[in-house]
Amino acid sequence: MSANQSDSAAIAASLADPGAFAAIFERHYDAVHGYLRRRLDAARADEIASQTFLVAFDRRARFERGRADARPWLFGIATNLAHNHRRHELVELRALAALRPEAALAVEGVEARLDAERLRAPLARALAELPTEEADVLCLLVWAELSQAEVADALAIPLGTVKSRLSRARGRLRDALGLPADAEAVGANSNGGDRWTS
């Protein structure tokens, strides 16, 4: 197995040699697990990350071989599996939202960090209140670091739908956090090919 072999080639090879699929696991497990860990508690993240690769292996014959990168496919599977645990995700976010921010002293140079601490609970509350389909788009974009086009691929929805859901989700977050609309200037994929950067 060549380290340079594309995901698509590894998956195609695994049809004849199932062991070739291990390369997909090695390349992407940490990213998938990290994404799930952001959304769920440790035990559920462990379980679903494992399940994601089992499901992917079982469905590998249906992987579209025109796609070189398996990440959108894997994150799509992980997101769908995580839906079964959305209630727990919300419970955890709400619990975090209920925490009072620690009293923060304004120290020169750490305003941004303090801002982040202060907004942590409102952000958790806002994420808990997002409709699932909007939360999926946002989480895949920011935490899985997929481009908008890859998010569309992962969720099997049109790119325009990704854009509109993202716009709505960001608006809700800004409203909840009391941020001005022009805060959008940083990041946010403006076209299908860009990854979110900030």
């Binding site: 199932p18 940490d30 462990d46 499901v55 952000l123 099997a156 940083v186």
Partner: protein, 387 residues
């Protein structure tokens, strides 16, 4: 600082490698790989999907992807389901359903509609194939795959469930364990040797979700007040013409749906108490228009009540009608009453969750025992103080 930057930093501390979880996941995959024979065709001849001119909705794409692989299985399953005995009579299902619709339409009264401060009560008997890891998970079939099978148990768990539901997210769930049976004597012995660990809800563990308040939790009993649960659903705005009802289901699903999904949604209307006779009649009539439904005129539900069973073998990958699973919807054609629902594995195929489960295994069996409207979570229909 914008909202995306905040979100990027949110829970960033959680993202760190977990060698133990990784090793377990890797082992689980290796076990799956070892169990998988190589494809029967050379890789270069592996079937390719024809490029579609336009992306179809997710469920359609899944259906297409499954079509070739499952065609033979579906055919075989169809033979198993519809051709296996003298009581299997696919012909006449539509006619029976239309007659039942007429009976439903003639039911007296508007149906059961709780007032703003009332709750809907439902009692069911259930038997479900479950997998559980003591102290960690309990899941229905297909729910999860244990990475450590030695500590996981699987068996048919029988229990009664009483649910009190309001649309204010408050309610109550009371589950009482009836018994557990296993797929093999060896599995039972292994379970007994381990101290007979019960599935999570029945284990008597005191831990509970923050959206619940414990009323009674002990070995075999799980009774909680639900503080943030689902409502019972509103059906008042659904159309009562069969074709319009199907279109409403499609619209709710945001796109064309397969018949398995439609049948499942129509049954969900029928098994609720807060539906009008006109809507129930529309649901029966809409079912009569769905293709692929079989009819068994000699069915019995989980508690032994006789009725007719509509049957449908799923073809898709969705949870509504998974491939290789036959769902039977049992009803009384004389009264249009809903009796039960049973899901049976007829074609295990090579799906992960079917490993070790033989064809013919009942995966889930539900009998609807009682419904009514009550004034509090501490009342049942017919008791003093209820409506």
């Amino acid at each position: 600082m914008d909202e995306l930057t905040l979100m990027r930093d949110f829970r960033a501390e959680r993202v760190r490698p977990d060698p133990t979880a990784r090793t377990l996941a890797r082992r689980a995959l290796e076990a799956r790989i070892e169990a998988a024979p190589p494809a029967a065709f050379p890789v270069d001849e592996a079937p390719r999907r024809a490029p579609a001119p336009r992306r179809a909705p997710r469920h359609r794409r899944r259906l297409f992807a499954f079509a070739a692989a499952t065609a033979l299985a579906a055919l075989l399953a169809g033979i198993l389901v519809f051709g296996s005995g003298p009581t299997a009579q696919p012909a006449g299902a539509a006619e029976v359903l239309r007659r039942t619709a007429a009976i439903a339409a003639a039911e007296p009264g508007p149906g059961l509609f709780p007032g703003p401060h009332q709750l809907l009560y439902e009692k069911t008997a259930q038997a479900e194939l479950q997998e559980w890891v003591p102290g960690r998970y309990t899941a229905s079939y297909g729910g999860f795959l244990s990475t450590d099978p030695a500590r996981a148990w699987g068996g048919r768990v029988s229990y009664t469930q009483e649910a009190w539901m309001s649309n204010k997210r408050r309610g109550r769930d009371r589950l009482v364990l009836g018994g557990i049976s296993f797929l093999s004597a060896a599995e039972r012995r292994r379970w007994k040797a381990a101290g007979s660990p019960l599935p999570g809800l029945f284990s008597g563990a005191s831990g509970h979700a923050p959206e619940e308040r414990v009323l009674e939790v002990g070995r075999g009993v799980h009774d909680v007040e639900v503080l943030d649960g689902p409502g019972y659903g509103q059906f008042g705005k659904l159309p009562t013409a069969p074709a319009a009802l199907r279109r409403a289901i499609e619209a709710r699903r945001r796109g064309k749906v397969d018949e398995g999904q439609v049948i499942g949604e129509l049954w969900e209307i029928l098994d609720k108490a807060n539906t009008s006779p006109a809507l129930r009649a529309a649901a029966f009539n809409a079912l009569a228009e769905e293709p692929g439904i079989g009819l068994d005129r000699d069915a019995k539900d989980l508690v032994g009540r006789s009725g007719y069973a509509l049957s449908y073998v799923g073809r898709g990958s969705s949870g509504d009608a998974p491939a290789g699973v036959r769902t039977e919807y049992i009803f009384d054609p004389a009264t249009a009453a809903i009796l039960g629902k049973r899901e049976t594995l007829v074609d295990p195929g090579r799906r992960p969750w079917t490993k070790g489960i033989p064809a013919g295994t009942v995966l889930r069996d539900v009998a609807y025992l009682d419904q009514g409207i009550v004034d509090s979570i501490h009342r049942r229909p017919g008791e003093a103080g209820t409506s």
